[in-house]
């Protein structure tokens, strides 16, 4: 029993030690505005990494750099051992980086199912001529991916809205569909930009559960931006804190909570 536990622990430790993504000295400027200056941190395989900070600290800019929307002025980003300079978002997607957006960016005219199926685009290989027929191999491929998407729908408990156009859904469900669409990509790294913004307590609890389940069940590494400190401190393994484009702290939730600079810049003191 203890041998098994030791072995498992060793497994966990080894997995934790492996670095999935490294950000080294990344700087990003828009004209005269320095959005990010000299940011370095890493994301280990299998962890939940939170990025926090006051508004305008550069959290979303950081995610945009990671998945290729912005090209950093200087610095290096290494993902799965591959360092890159400039990269288009679809290249990031094909390397296994998926993301959700702060303001929901679903395909509003399409149904929930079609949205999630769109996440499988990169995994579909049948060429244009099979697509013209939509029979034989093309249809078999569709069904194969449909089964995968049905698992996600089942996992996120959104079976009842499968065929509803997402534009008609309430906000909380839209956020969930967006998570499903990102999951359909089978990402190695999942970036969540404020997954709980504008949700009530119950919806937040649901979302937390989904995030933890995704992390454990699919073994997906997650980097998330969130303003709800209770949530961040509870679910994340390590936290990096940004302020005005600078990194001011990096560590476990307890370390970060105790850091005087973080308290001054962001957390504040309860009176």
């Amino acid at each position: 029993m203890s041998a098994l536990a030791e072995m498992l622990q060793g497994e966990v430790a080894r997995a934790a030690a492996e670095t999935l993504l490294t950000v080294e000295n990344v700087s990003l400027t828009f004209g005269g505005v320095r959005a990010l200056s000299d940011i370095s941190f890493d994301i280990r395989k299998g962890e939940i990494r939170a990025i926090i900070g006051p508004n305008g600290a550069g959290k979303t800019s950081m995610l945009n750099c990671i998945n290729g929307f912005y090209h950093p002025r200087s610095g290096r980003i290494t993902f799965k051992g591959k360092t890159r300079q400039r990269m288009r978002p679809y290249e990031a997607a094909s390397q296994g980086i998926a993301r959700t957006f702060q303001n929901v960016a679903l395909f509003k005219g399409m149904t929930t199912l079609d949205n999630i199926l769109t996440g499988r685009t990169l995994k579909m290989n049948r060429n244009f001529f099979w697509q013209l027929l939509r029979h034989g191999p093309a249809m078999r491929e569709e069904i194969e991916h449909r089964i995968y998407c049905e698992d996600i729908i089942d996992f996120l408990e959104i079976e009842h809205i499968r065929k509803t156009p997402v534009g008609k859904l309430p906000y909380g469900l839209q956020k969930r569909v967006e998570l499903g669409r990102a999951l359909a990509m089978q990402p190695d790294l999942l970036l969540l930009d404020e997954p709980m913004a504008g949700m009530n307590l119950e919806e937040k609890e649901d979302m937390c559960r989904f995030i933890l389940d995704v992390n454990r069940h699919f073994r997906t590494t997650i980097a998330l931006i969130e303003h709800d400190m209770g949530v961040v401190m509870d679910i994340s393994d390590r936290v990096v804190v940004l302020e005005y484009g600078h990194k001011i702290a990096d560590g476990t939730p307890d370390e970060v909570k105790a850091d005087q600079r973080v308290i001054d810049a962001y957390l504040g003191v309860s009176h």
Partner: protein, 359 residues
Amino acid sequence: MFYREAGQFKTTYASDMAVLPILQDRIGLAVILLIGFVGIPLLGGNFFLQTVMIPFLVFSLAAIGLNILTGYTGLLSLGSGAFMGVGAYACYKLTTIYPGVNIVIWIVASGFFAAAIGVVFGLPSLRIKGFYLIVATLAAQFFLQWSFVRIPWLYNYNASGAIEVPQRLFAGIPLTGANATPVTRYLVLLGIVTFLTWIASNLVHGRIGRSWMAVRDMDIAAELMGIRLLPAKLLAFAVSSFYCGVAGACMMFLWYGGGEANDAFNINQSFTILFMVIIGGLGSLIGSFLGAAFISILPTALKFGVPALGIAIPGTVAEHATYILLGALIIFFLIVEPHGLARLWQIGKQKLRMWPFPY
């Protein structure tokens, strides 16, 4: 009451993913096809086929083309008239250079020429969107229309300066030219339209259709899903222009039979097709047919229908009244349902499911 999916259980994903999952819809489609292929040729006179059905089918094909571009991919275009022209002239050149090849093959093949031209004029779509893209496609419209008039090679140096459709046989029966009967032309055209509609339906329901709609709804997120924007948009331009090109070739060879070819592909034609797509419903294949029916059949119906009712009005008055009525009806439908006739059709079906109960 009779239109319900109750009791029709889907036990496989294939049956759930069918284009027409409800049995009644499939029966309806079969009935429509039966009427189209058998009923109308038997019962409709030559006049009906020539002035109502053939224009309707040609415009339906062009509207499907523009709908793929504007409705599914969200790229506005005013070049569809010119792309139809490319198809017509390509078909003319092909059939005069290689007269031995079956004309139906050339009609479909001419779509590929339109597709190639469409891709060239679609290149700016990566950088510019919306109204600005309209202006870019206007360039295609004006440039191509200019070419049709100014490059005599395109119309084989005819004295008339236009396409003169030669006689071509299809299975031993004249299909184009002066001797072709409307019934033959109608049946071949219906065959082409049915086949291409089936292809379009396959495309928009699969991976490619989803990637087009993703680009339309949220291009940033689409790129993040691994959809490359330029290839997706260019493919939409190619497929759209292919449909417009085939429609243009059909228009010239199976409807007009030559004559006023230069005028047929002007900016008005592009506008007409855009109106069909907007009124029919953006992003809907059935909307393309409804829009084409509305815009192409209604003027004819008003022109010949009103005198048939016994209301004697002079020809010119009838002509102008048609414009006024058509304009008023367009405004009426856009106010009642901005999403087009296809949405009205959807609502109607929804109501029919409940009928005779209110909810």
